[in-house]
């Protein structure tokens, strides 16, 4: 059985870290063999989502318990829902904590705390607050671009003639779909923008084929993100994935509209 201790250093004499999410190391100890491994925490610098990265790290190491100074409610919730026991409020060195854990002292302390039901109720409220905060942040982050896109569509409505659009989207389903896919592959960002742009384009008489291709490729093909995708997943993977997606999702767009037309008559 393995346990993880958030620590300030990479050995057994290191002190337990005050915060789980931003600790420098997670020292993973195999209680049966006595072997240990100090894994650097990629989120030690404390950027947004640090807690979640440390959670993923703990889960990937297949530990049964996490021992730490303090663990935020969201991270604690994720850990416990993955079957990992969290014991917090601890201090001392890694070695001391391992000994106390082996003797069962820490587990008893955790059980006593859990019996105080008030703590559980408080955490529920904290989790709700956390979810509300992160939803507000997610929501707020999509607004600047969305508002700008809507303002731009306003300009488009006032200044660009229908004749101009008709010259780009000729009414030929195959060509229009190809154009839609090209725009969708170049443009990027939150897909909500593609729905608004697509919806407004429909009013201009642009075919649903083109709009569907635009919406699908907006996310699935990303020329803007290509350098980042190449850096993370390799050049061949990124290029093949984008090329295959471009071709296949044009087919998906055509199929979607054909089936939609069949259903709605």
């Amino acid at each position: 059985m393995k346990i993880a201790i958030s620590a300030d250093g990479a050995d057994l004499n290191a002190r337990v870290a005050q915060r789980f999410g931003t600790s420098k190391y997670l020292v993973v100890i195999d209680l049966d063999s006595g072997d240990f491994e100090a894994v650097p925490n990629p989120a030690a610098s404390g950027q947004r989502g640090a807690g979640m990265q440390a959670v993923v790290l703990a889960i990937s190491k297949d530990v049964k318990a996490v021992l730490t100074g303090y663990c935020g409610p969201a991270a604690q919730n994720q850990l416990t829902s993955n079957g990992i026991e969290v014991i917090s409020g601890l201090s001392g060195t890694v070695e001391e904590l391992v000994e106390r854990y082996k003797k069962g002292v820490l587990q008893k302390q955790a059980e006593t705390e859990a019996e105080h039901g008030a703590k559980g109720r408080r955490i529920d409220r904290v989790i709700l607050l956390h979810a509300a905060k992160s939803s507000a942040r997610q929501f707020a982050s999509l607004l600047p671009i969305l508002i700008s896109v809507v303002l731009l569509i306003g300009l488009f409505n006032a200044f660009v003639s229908k004749e101009f659009l008709a010259s780009v989207f000729s009414g030929n389903p195959v060509l229009d779909t190809l154009w839609g896919a090209c725009f969708g592959s170049i443009l990027a960002g939150n897909p909500i923008n593609s729905y608004v742009i697509g919806g407004e384009l429909l009013k201009y008489g642009v075919s649903l084929f083109a709009v569907t291709a635009l919406i699908i490729t907006w996310v699935t093909v990303g020329l803007v993100q290509l350098p980042a995708e190449i850096a993370a997943l390799g050049g061949k993977f990124a290029l093949v994935r984008n090329a295959v997606s471009f071709v296949l999702f044009i087919a998906v767009a055509i199929l979607t509209v054909v089936v939609f037309n069949l259903i709605t008559g």
């Binding site: 700008s148 409505n157 699908i216 979607t256």
Partner: protein, 190 residues
Amino acid sequence: VSLLKQDKQQKTVGKTRAVRTFLFPALVLITYGILFAIMPGKTSIALKSSGSIFLKILMPLGLVFVVMLVLNLFLKPAQIVKFLGSGAGIKGTVLSATAGIISAGPIYAWYPLLKDLRQKGAANSFPAIFLGNRAVKPFLLPVMISYFGWIYVVVLTVFTILGSIVVGYLVGALVKVKDVLPSHHSSAGE
């Protein structure tokens, strides 16, 4: 030293992202300013037109927030991540697709995780399935339905999921795991 380097890199990425987020709104506002000075009449029409689009998406946007809140409360992407690396065959496919659908936030936040999965030996098809399924956004459905109707949204969603899986398997067949070893090697120094 590597942690310091990583910290510095993350700060640079954060700054670039902030510039990218506000560059576009700033350009749009500047354009409005210039056009208003030259053609106030037409620019007012543009503003009114934008206003009516806002009114149209206001209600669906409210719903977007509610759905986001519910998803944040009950979905646990980390739980899925636990199985992503180990899952194979149909199980891995379903998990990758589900993780793609429920994953929120900008794609840049997810690349490190996909890279990690890859280095643990996950098949190439799974990151591809994940990336394709990011096109399915449950919390944005209210806006999509308000524009296109629910029948279209259902058909599009089903075909997007199926299409993503096909793309995933094609990428898995075309790109062998050995092809990505160089990227593994270069990342070791980070």
